[in-house]
C-alpha cells in the first residue's frame, strides 16, 4: 500500500529544504504554472473534505474563487487544525511531523481562490504541533516560492500561525472564523457560509489539515494517480484514527474504502484480549454505531452513508465485549454537554438532561419511562443548534439505543441496592 501522507520520506518535520528535496514544492510549481487548472484537477481527483463533512473540495474552492476580492484585506484561507474530538488524532500527526504538505496545500488553495492571508489555525494543547508549525511557517516566509505566489496574487501573502482556544467547539468553521478574529469560538448560523463572508466579512476558504495535505500530491502526480489509490469508487488514501479495544491502535493510512474488517483485524492487530468485536463508533463519538454485522462495510463517505452512518473524521473507536456501550455513550454525551458553547439552551440544557438520565441509569437509579424520555429528546433536539454538536450527541444516543437497547434495559432492571425490582413487568 502506498503511504502518501505518512511515508517515511515526507516525515521531515519543519525542515523545508528536506521537504523540497523529496519532491516538495512540485505541486506548487505546477499550480503556479497553470493556476486556472488547479480547481479542475482537484475536481477530477474527487477530493472531499476530510475534517468530517465530506463536502467536495473543488466546490468549496470554486465558491470562494467566484467571490469578488474585497476592497480591503483580501480573501482568507484557514487551515483547520483544531482537532479536539475524542478518538481523532490525525491532524496533530500531520502538523507536528510533516507540516509542509499541509502548508503547500494551503498555498495552492490561496492561489486557486485569490487569497492574501493563510492562517494555520492550531489547537494550543498540541505543543509540538504549535512549535513545529511556527518553525515551518517561518521557513516558508523566507523562501522564494512564497514570493512567487505573492507575485502571482498581486499582493503580499501572509502565512500566520494562530493558536485557537483549545475548545472542541472551535473546530466548527464559523467558530474557527470567530476565533481567528480574536473572539470566543461561538458558532453562528449558516448561511452566510465562510465562503461568502468569513474573517472580517471577507470570503474565507476553510479546509481541514488532512484535506490540504493531499493537495500538493494531487497537483504533482495528477488526478488519475490520486483516484487509483482508493478502492472501488472511492479515491485517495485516508488517515484512519483507530482506537479502543484493539491490539494496535494508532494512525493507519489506508486506501479510502478499506473495509472495517481489514482495518481492525488486518492492520489493527485484531481485538484486544481476544474479546469479540461488539461495535465501532464510526467517525468518532458524534455518529452512529456499526456492529459486527457491518464488518465488511467499506470505510468511505458514500458506502457509510448508504449504511446509515458517516465517515466523519475517519476515527474508528472499537468496542469489544466487556466494554459497556451504555457507559461509553454516557461518556460521550457528557463530553458534548461539557463542550457546548452555551449559546443555544436546547443544546446545553438538552445534552445535560440526556447526560443526567444516562447517569442515573448507569448508577442503578434508572426509572420506567427513561428510555422513552431519551428517545423523545433524541427526536426533538436535532436541528436546533447553531452548529452540529447537538445533532452529534442526539445521533450517538439514538444509535446506541437502537443497536444496544438490551444493555439499557438490563441496567434499568438492575438496582443499586440489590433489591429485586418489584415493579418489573
Amino acid at each position: 500500500m502506498t503511504a502518501v501522507l505518512t511515508a517515511e520520506a515526507v516525515r521531515v518535520g519543519p525542515d523545508l529544504e528536506a521537504w523540497l528535496a523529496v519532491g516538495g514544492g512540485g505541486g506548487l510549481r505546477r499550480a503556479l504554472a497553470e493556476p486556472e487548472a488547479i480547481i479542475p484537477v482537484i475536481e477530477a481527483a474527487g477530493l472531499r473534505g476530510l475534517g468530517g463533512a465530506g463536502f467536495p473540495t473543488h466546490r468549496k474552492w470554486a465558491a470562494v474563487a467566484a467571490q469578488p476580492r474585497p476592497a480591503k484585506g483580501g480573501k482568507w484561507v484557514i487551515c483547520n487544525g483544531n482537532e479536539d474530538e475524542p478518538g481523532t488524532f490525525k491532524d496533530r500527526f500531520l502538523l507536528s511531523e510533516t507540516p509542509h504538505q499541509v502548508i503547500e496545500g494551503a498555498l495552492i488553495g490561496a492561489l486557486a481562490v485569490g487569497a492574501s492571508t493563510i492562517v494555520l489555525y492550531v489547537n494550543p494543547r498540541e505543543a509540538a504541533a504549535v512549535r513545529v508549525l511556527k518553525q515551518a511557517a517561518q521557513a516558508w516566509a523566507k523562501h522564494s516560492l512564497l514570493a512567487e505566489c505573492a507575485a502571482f496574487l498581486g499582493s503580499p501573502l501572509r502565512l500566520d500561525v494562530v493558536e485557537g482556544s483549545g475548545l472542541y467547539v472551535g473546530g466548527e468553521e464559523t467558530a474557527a472564523v470567530a476565533s481567528v478574529m480574536g473572539g470566543f469560538p461561538f458558532p453562528s448560523l449558516k448561511p452566510p457560509f465562510p465562503a461568502e463572508a468569513g474573517v472580517n466579512g471577507a470570503p474565507t476558504l476553510l479546509n481541514n489539515v488532512e484535506t490540504f495535505a493531499h493537495v500538493p500530491h494531487i497537483l504533482r502526480e495528477g488526478a488519475e494517480w490520486y483516484r487509483a489509490l482508493g478502492l472501488g469508487a472511492a479515491v485517495g488514501t485516508k488517515l484512519y484514527s483507530l482506537s479502543g479495544d484493539v491490539l494496535r491502535p494508532g494512525l493507519h493510512e489506508m486506501p479510502m474504502g478499506t473495509s472495517l474488517r481489514q482495518l481492525v483485524f488486518a492492520h489493527g492487530g485484531g481485538m484486544l484480549a481476544q474479546k469479540a468485536f461488539k461495535a465501532v463508533f464510526t467517525g468518532g463519538p458524534s455518529n452512529t454505531l456499526l456492529t459486527a454485522a457491518d464488518l465488511d462495510v467499506a470505510l468511505d463517505f458514500d458506502s457509510l452513508r448508504e449504511r446509515g452512518s458517516r465517515l466523519g473524521t475517519g476515527a474508528m473507536i472499537v468496542v469489544g465485549e466487556g466494554t459497556s456501550i451504555l457507559r461509553k455513550t454516557a461518556e460521550y454525551v457528557a463530553f458534548f454537554a461539557a463542550n457546548s458553547c452555551g449559546q443555544c439552551p436546547p443544546c446545553k440544557i438538552g445534552t445535560h438532561q440526556v447526560a443526567r438520565i444516562l447517569e442515573r441509569i448507569e448508577n442503578g437509579a434508572g426509572r420506567p419511562g427513561d428510555l422513552e424520555a431519551l428517545e423523545n429528546l433524541s427526536k426533538m433536539l436535532p436541528g436546533s443548534g447553531r452548529c452540529g454538536l447537538l445533532d452529534g450527541a442526539a445521533t450517538v444516543l439514538s444509535s446506541s439505543l437502537h443497536a444496544f437497547r438490551a444493555e439499557y434495559e438490563a441496567a434499568l432492571a438492575r438496582q443499586s441496592s440489590g433489591q429485586v425490582n418489584l415493579g418489573a413487568a
Binding site: A365, P368, S417, L422, G423
Partner: protein, 539 residues
C-alpha cells in the same frame, strides 16, 4: 347541577347595575356561617373513632386518612440504609427551613427531608404578606386581640401571645437572612418605614410585604440559607412514610422513602420536627384548592398515629376568591389585594351581597349562599360570582397594570381582559386552621416530636387572619428549632422501631375500621403514584 343565571344574562345584569350599590348581607354572621360555610354542612364532618383525639370531628376525607393503616411494616426496616441526626426536620417549606437553620446554627446535626424539592411548599405561593406589629399606631396587644377575634376566640392564648410577640423579631431575622421588604418610601433604606397594609379583620395596618410575592421572596432567601448552612444535610424526594418510635413512646425519627431509587431509608434522630404543611390537595368537601401539590396532610397522619392530639381539624379556611372558570385554572387564588383595593363582589342579578373586607370565612359563606340560592352565575357548567375588576379600573384607572400585576397576569392566562370583563370566582380550599396541638416551644405532647407551621393547630381558632401564616412559620420554626436541639440532647431513644403500630392496628380493628386503607397519601390521586403499591421501583 346548581340553578343559577347563565353568563350572558348575568353579564347584562351586571352592566345594567354597575357600579352596584352596597347591600347588607341580610343574615347575622353566625347564621350565615352556620348555613353556608362548608365546614358547617350537614354530614361534612364525622367524629374520629380511634386515636387520642377520638370524638373530635374532621372532614370525612381527612378522617379516613387519619384512621388508616401504616404504609410500612417492621420488616421494611430490615436492611434499610440508616442516617443519623440530632434533629430531623420533615418538610422543606418555610417552617421547615427556619427550624433547620435554627437548630443547625445552635450546633445540631440536622437532616432536612422533603418529598419534592426544598422550597416546594405553600409558603412559596403566598402573595399577600406577613403581619408584625411595627406601626407606631399599633401594638402587640392589638395584634393579639385581632388574631383572637378573627379566630372567633377559639385559639390558644399562649400560642397567640408567642406569635405576636415574636413578630418584630421575626421580621428582623428575615431581613438578616436577606429577605427584602417594601418600604413606604423606597429611597429611605436606612431609617424609613415599612410599607404596611391592613389585612381583613385587623384594627391597624400591619401587613408587611414584598410586592405581591412575599412568599417567594421569603422562600428564596431561606432556600439559599439552608443550602449554604453547614450542619444541614438536605434530602430532596424523600417523603416520610412512618414515624419511628422507641419502647417508651418517644419519637425516634422516621422511615423515609427514596423516590429516585424506590427504597426505604431510615432517619434516626433525637428530635423530629414536623413541618409538612397543609391538606388542600385532599380537596376536602369536594372543593378545588389553592394549595401546593404536596399538601396532603402527611404530617397530621403520621403524628396522630404516634399519639399526638389534634385540635380544630374541623375548621378550614376557604379563600373567598378562587378562580371558578376556566376549568384549567380552577381553584387558583385571586389575591385579596383586589378587594382591598376596592373591587366588589357581584351576583348574577348584578347585586352586591356582602361587605367585601369582612373576614374570609364570612365572605366565603356569603358567596356560597348566593350560589346555593340560585343567584350565582353559570358558565360552562361552573358556578361562581363576579369579582368586578372593570368597575375598579374605571374608578382607579391604571390600577390593574400598575399594582395588580399578578392579577392581570392571571386574567391573561384565563383569556379575559380584566378591564372589560369581571372574573368568575368561587371559594377555594386554602388553609388548614387547626392541626397538631403544640405548646409555645413547638412541642407536641409526644416526647421527641415537635411541629411548626400549617400542620399545627391552636393559633388561628376557626379562621386565620391574612399574614399570620407567614409569621407563624418564622416564629414557631425558630421556637421548634431551639426546642428540638434541647430535646435531642436530653436522652436518646432506645429500641427504635414501629412499636406504636401494634396498638394502632388493634384500635382500628376494635372499631371495625379497614386495615386495607393506607396513609399517608404522599401524592394526590391524580399524581398517579400509589404509595402503597408503587414504592418498589424508582420513580
Amino acid at each position: 347541577m346548581t340553578a343559577g343565571i347563565p353568563l350572558a344574562q348575568a353579564l347584562a345584569n351586571w352592566r345594567a347595575c354597575a357600579p352596584a350599590e352596597p347591600r347588607p348581607c341580610g343574615l347575622p354572621v353566625a347564621e350565615l356561617l352556620r348555613g353556608f360555610h362548608p365546614d358547617q354542612r350537614p354530614g361534612a364532618m364525622v367524629p374520629l373513632l380511634v386515636g387520642i383525639s377520638a370524638g373530635q370531628r374532621a372532614p370525612a376525607e381527612l378522617a379516613a386518612l387519619l384512621q388508616a393503616d401504616s404504609l410500612v411494616d417492621d420488616i421494611d426496616l430490615a436492611g434499610a440504609p440508616l442516617l443519623e441526626a440530632d434533629v430531623l426536620v420533615i418538610g422543606g417549606g418555610g417552617a421547615g427551613c427556619v427550624a433547620a437553620l435554627t437548630a443547625a446554627r445552635a450546633g445540631a446535626r440536622v437532616l432536612l427531608v422533603t418529598k419534592l424539592r426544598i422550597g416546594d411548599s405553600n409558603t412559596v405561593m403566598a402573595e399577600g404578606g406577613i403581619q408584625a406589629a411595627v406601626g407606631e399606631d399599633d401594638s402587640l396587644q392589638r395584634h393579639f386581640e385581632d388574631t383572637l377575634r378573627a379566630g372567633h376566640f377559639l385559639a390558644d392564648k399562649s400560642l397567640v401571645a408567642a406569635l405576636v410577640s415574636d413578630g418584630p423579631a421575626a421580621i428582623r431575622w428575615l431581613i438578616q437572612e436577606g429577605m427584602s421588604f417594601d418600604l413606604a418610601d423606597e429611597g429611605r433604606r436606612m431609617g424609613g418605614t415599612l410599607l404596611r397594609k391592613k389585612p381583613g379583620g385587623a384594627s391597624a395596618a400591619r401587613l408587611l410585604s414584598y410586592r405581591d410575592f412575599t412568599g417567594l421572596e421569603l422562600m428564596r432567601a431561606l432556600r439559599e440559607a439552608v443550602l449554604l448552612q453547614p450542619g444541614i444535610t438536605l434530602l430532596d424526594r424523600h417523603p416520610a412514610l412512618e414515624l419511628l418510635s422507641d419502647d417508651r413512646g418517644r419519637c425516634a425519627g422516621a422511615a423515609l422513602h427514596d423516590l429516585a431509587r424506590g427504597r426505604t431509608v431510615l432517619a434516626r434522630a433525637g428530635a423530629t420536627v414536623l413541618a409538612t404543611g397543609g391538606s388542600g390537595r385532599l380537596h376536602l368537601l369536594g372543593f378545588p384548592t389553592s394549595n401546593h401539590y404536596g399538601a396532603t396532610a402527611d404530617g397530621l397522619v403520621l403524628a396522630y398515629r404516634l399519639g399526638a392530639p389534634l385540635r380544630e381539624v374541623d375548621s378550614f379556611q376557604f379563600h373567598p376568591t378562587g378562580m371558578a372558570w376556566p376549568g384549567h385554572l380552577e381553584g387558583q387564588l385571586v389575591s385579596e389585594s383586589a378587594r382591598s383595593s376596592g373591587a366588589m363582589l357581584v351576583n348574577g342579578l348584578g347585586q352586591r351581597f356582602v361587605e367585601e373586607l369582612q373576614p374570609r370565612d364570612v365572605v366565603a359563606a356569603a358567596i356560597l349562599r348566593e350560589i346555593a340560592e340560585g343567584r350565582g352565575i353559570l358558565r360552562d357548567g361552573r358556578a361562581g360570582v363576579f369579582l368586578d375588576t372593570p368597575t375598579l379600573e374605571r374608578g382607579k384607572p391604571g390600577i390593574l397594570a400598575g399594582s395588580l400585576v399578578t392579577l392581570s397576569h392571571l386574567a391573561h392566562r384565563a383569556g379575559i381582559d380584566p378591564a372589560s370583563e369581571p372574573f368568575l370566582i368561587r371559594p377555594t380550599l386554602h388553609y388548614q386552621n387547626g392541626g397538631l396541638v403544640i405548646d409555645p416551644a413547638g412541642r407536641t405532647p409526644v416526647p421527641g416530636l415537635l411541629a411548626a407551621g400549617e400542620v399545627t393547630g391552636g393559633l388561628h381558632g376557626s379562621n386565620r387572619m391574612m399574614g399570620n401564616a407567614l409569621l407563624e412559620l418564622v416564629a414557631f420554626g425558630r421556637r421548634a428549632g431551639e426546642a428540638a436541639i434541647l430535646d435531642a440532647r436530653v436522652e436518646r431513644p432506645r429500641n427504635v422501631g414501629l412499636t406504636h403500630l401494634a396498638d394502632w392496628r388493634r384500635a382500628l380493628t376494635v372499631q371495625g375500621l379497614p386495615l386495607s386503607r393506607k396513609a399517608p397519601m404522599i401524592f394526590p390521586p391524580y399524581g398517579n403514584f400509589n404509595a402503597a403499591t408503587d414504592r418498589g421501583k424508582a420513580a
